[in-house]
Structures are given as C-alpha cells and as structure tokens.
Amino acid sequence: MKAIVAERLTKIYSGEKKALDNASFELSQGEVFGFLGPNGAGKTTAVKLLNGMISPSEGSCHVFGIDPSSSPEKVHAISGVVTEHAQMYGNLTGQENLVFYGTLFGIPKEESLKRALALLERLDLTVAKDKKLTTYSTGMRQRLSLARAMIHTPKILFLDEPTSGLDPESAQSVNNMIKELASDKGTTVFLCTHQLRYAQEVCSSYGLIDDGTLLAVGSLDALRCRIFSGLKVHIKSNRFPEGISFRKTEGQWAEINVQTEDEIPPIVKRIVDAGGNVYEVMANRLSLEEIYFSLIEKRKEQKEVR
C-alpha cells in the first residue's frame, strides 16, 4: 500500500489565490520525501490537507488508504506531526508533556513513561526532563516536539521545518534519527523544508514546489534528468587549448559539462598535451539547489512566453 497518494490536490483559502494547485504525487512506505520550497509555497497547506486539518477545494488525498478529510482521527492515530504552530504545555515538564501526549494516543501511563524516557535520551534531553517547558531553548523545544511526534511510533511522520532553530550538531543528530527511522523501522517521512542542502542529505525522493505549484517529483537522479544528467567538471589550469568548449569562470578555473566520467581523462590529457599544467579537477553532478533554481527559472520563462 502506498503511504501517501495525492491526486490533483488543490486548496483555495476563501477566495484568495491557490495555496496548492493541482498537486499529484505518491509516496511509498519507508520513503523520506522532501517537500521543498520557499516560505509560503504551500508546504504547510499540504501537511494540513494530508492530516485533515483542512479539506481540499479540489482533488483528493489518502494516507495509508485513509481519506483524511472524512476520518482525520484515523490518520492522526498513525501519524506524528511536527509543525511550528504545534507547541506543548509550558506549565508541564518535558517528561510530563510526553507522558500526557502518550496517554492522549491511548498508550497506558507506564508504557508512555518508558517511551518518553527512551526518546528523551535519544534526543539528548534527559538532563532537562524534569524542567518546565518554559525554560527550554528553541532547539530543545524542537527536539521535544520530535519526541512527542514519535511517542506512539507512527507509521508516517510529517515534519515541517524540523531543524529550524537547531544548532548544527543537533540538526545532524535529528538527520541521523530520521534516516534511522526510515531504514530500520520503515517509517515514512514527509519532510517540508526550504533548506535544500539539508534535504539532499536526508531524503530519498523529492517534490519541488513554488507558489502552490508542484514543479517536479522524483528521486535526485530523476530530477537531474529533467535538467542535465551529466557532470559539471571544474578544472584549474594555466592553459586551456582551443577546440574544447570551456567556460572560463574565475582566475585559472574553467568549467565544462560532460555526460560520463570517462570523458574527463581525455580532456585533462589534451590540456597537458597542449603544454598546460593541471592543478585541480573537480567533477560534480547537479545539486538539488541547482536543479531547484533551474526549474524555477524554466517556470518563469514559460510564464513569460504565455
């Protein structure tokens, strides 16, 4: 069974423009799906639609076969949600908060406590477990929210900007945890973020969104194929022979696109044969960031043509 199926999902907030426009995508179980786009692109709207907090204006969606707009509580039972707006109680301690949310998901108190302690340790919050939430830093709150979302071992996690406000070390540990959850427990993760580099580290597939419109969906390789599937080679040399289409960048650096790695040695050889010294060679595939900006550029061009 697919974890998420969205078909022509559209949301229009009372007469305003479309917050989500005709978005169709599918997620398999155990996938870490990066839903990427700038602020206001429609990411949070998608999370709310998939959890039944709002109903679609057009189209439909299903989470593990359940329609969230007709049975939201059934979706909530199998999902964990972390969003900026979903806070916890300041007058309770970290541990009390987790135990409360555990019991709210129908887990007996003793079991909730056991799980809470394990999660607090995993997220490096054991020292602060008996402190009131009001004393927590932004990063600690964010980590506690993650623990809260995982207390009932959900089949799917919706994480809306989970690493915002986290220091690099905490962000790294959260990333590792997300990867572990997906690989070891088969948890599906729907991760919304505008931090594209961070997403590339964690996600196995992507949906790129801008202004409510889904630009592309697929694995990194599939997305690359839409723009340029080859390699970008950067060469530092004191001489570049003519006849090869180098693009001079800065200083002694030049750039050339190739389809496969095999094309690189002949290029280097030609430079050396022409009397040039090669100091450095770097070959990179298109990053998620580059793909995203190319797609946005393409969309702009299409709009202008229209």
């Binding site: 907090m53 939201p72 019991t103 998901f105």
Partner: protein, 262 residues
C-alpha cells in the same frame, strides 16, 4: 468517556489548579459572596437589633407560610434561602467562564490547540472532554462554596440564635439543576466565541458581555421566583437545562478544524 478523554480532562483541571492567578480569582470571589457577605449580615442582625422597621415592612410582604415568629430568624431565613441562591447562579457562570476561556482560547493562544487536534480523538470528543472539564470545575467551585457557606453560616447562626436554620428544599433544585444548567450555557457561549477570540482576555470579556444580561435578568427576578413556588423553580431549571442542551448540540454542528485554527 475513554481514557484519552479523561487524560485531557485531568490535564485541563491540573492546568487551572497550577495557575495561581486563575485559581485565586476563581476561589476568592465565591468565598466573598457566600461566606463574607452572609457573615456580615448575620453579625449585623445580631449586634444591631434595634431598628427593624424596614425589615419588618419587607417581611410582611412575604407569603404567610414563610413568615416566622422570631424576627431575627425570619431575616436570616430570607437571607439564606432566598437571597443566597442567587449567588449560586453567578458563581458557576464565573467559574465556568474562567475555566472554559483558559481551556479553549488559552490553548489557541499558547499554540497548543493544534498539537491537541493532531491526536486521534475526534473534534467532538475533544470538545466534550473540554466542556466536561469546565463543567466539573464549575460544579466543584459551586459545591465547595455551598459546603463552606453552610458550615460557616450554621455555626454563626447557632452562636447568635442558639439554634440551627438548615437550607430548605429550593437549594436542592438550585444546586442540582439550575446552577449546572447555567454553567453549561456559559461554557457553550465561550466555546462558540472561542473560534473568533484570539486571546484569553478577549474571550473572558466576550463572555462577560454575554453573561451580564443573564445576571441582571435572572438574578434580579430570581428571588421572587424562589418565593413563589418550588415547581416554578423546577420548571425554570428544566428550561435552562434544555437551552443548554440545544446550545451545546448546536455548537457541535458548527465546529471544524479549520474554524478552530483560524
């Protein structure tokens, strides 16, 4: 009521008892109304027994069956059985308003409502649990106030007159029917307003606006109703309970996640 809902109710009740500011507000007003006010009155009657002409005139207007032989006892009985019940209409409204505002709009204000909505309880179940926690709190405050009031006034009456003057049957109707019905109406009005209110203060002010006319209309005429007949009191209680039920079901029909998170 399942264990998830009772967890929510316990959390709400704990939330209010942990908030000293709200707790003091919720307890101090009923204590002043039900203990301090009648105590002053009883003491006044005891220590200034000379000029009763105004009271005398008032007592003569009362139905014959409640006119007692002893002037002091008659006045205390009037106070205890006819004036004090009015406060037990005001107290549940106040307690329910504070509790409901904190439990609905307070959650919205502190951004904990959204987290709550992501739990596997349906919106109706969440609402029922929250209405129930406000109701329990308002009933607790009412019953506690009644118990303390009865204890203190009975001791005072015994010390000043040498005998007890127990509350009459109309109290039973007030405490078991009228006061719960009125507190349910107050809670429902707050809940209806909670979709629009953004802060707890705003919600409490809104509820005060809604509740004030109730106090003037109901409380002003209430004393007379108690005097007339227990059956009329019972009828009024049943009518208010019916209104509470209709209002509550009406608000269940209207709620949606979207309206709550606006």
């Amino acid at each position: 009521m399942n264990t998830m809902q009772s967890a929510l109710i316990k959390k709400d009740l704990r939330g209010i008892t942990a908030n000293k500011q709200l707790l003091v507000a919720m307890i101090s007003v009923p204590i002043v109304l039900t203990v301090v006010v009648p105590s002053i009155f009883i003491m006044l009657i005891h220590f200034m027994p000379n000029d009763f002409s105004d009271f005398d005139a008032m007592l003569r207007m009362l139905p014959i069956d409640i006119q007692l032989d002893n002037m002091n006892t008659a006045i205390i009985s009037l106070l205890l059985n006819n004036i004090m019940p009015v406060f037990f209409i005001i107290i549940p409204i106040m307690a329910a308003s504070i509790m409901a505002a904190s439990s609905f709009v307070g959650e919205k204000e502190k951004r904990t409502l959204e987290t709550l909505l992501y739990c596997p309880l349906s919106l109706k179940q969440i609402f029922r649990a929250k209405i129930l926690s406000s109701f329990i709190m308002s009933e607790l405050v009412s019953i506690l106030s009644f118990t303390i009031m009865t204890l203190v006034t009975q001791i005072e009456i015994f010390l000043t007159t040498g005998s007890l003057l127990l509350p009459n049957i109309s109290w039973l109707v007030v405490l078991l029917l009228l006061s719960p019905a009125v507190s349910l109406i107050a809670i429902t009005l707050i809940v209806r307003g909670s979709a629009r209110a953004q802060t707890m203060e705003e919600s409490q002010q809104r509820s005060a606006l809604l509740v004030l006319p109730v106090i003037f209309l109901v409380a002003g005429q209430f004393m007379g109703i108690i005097l007339i007949n227990i059956w009329i009191l019972l009828g009024l209680g049943a009518l208010l309970a019916l209104i509470a039920w209709i209002l509550m079901n009406g608000s269940f029909q209207k709620i949606s996640y979207e309206s709550m998170l606006r």
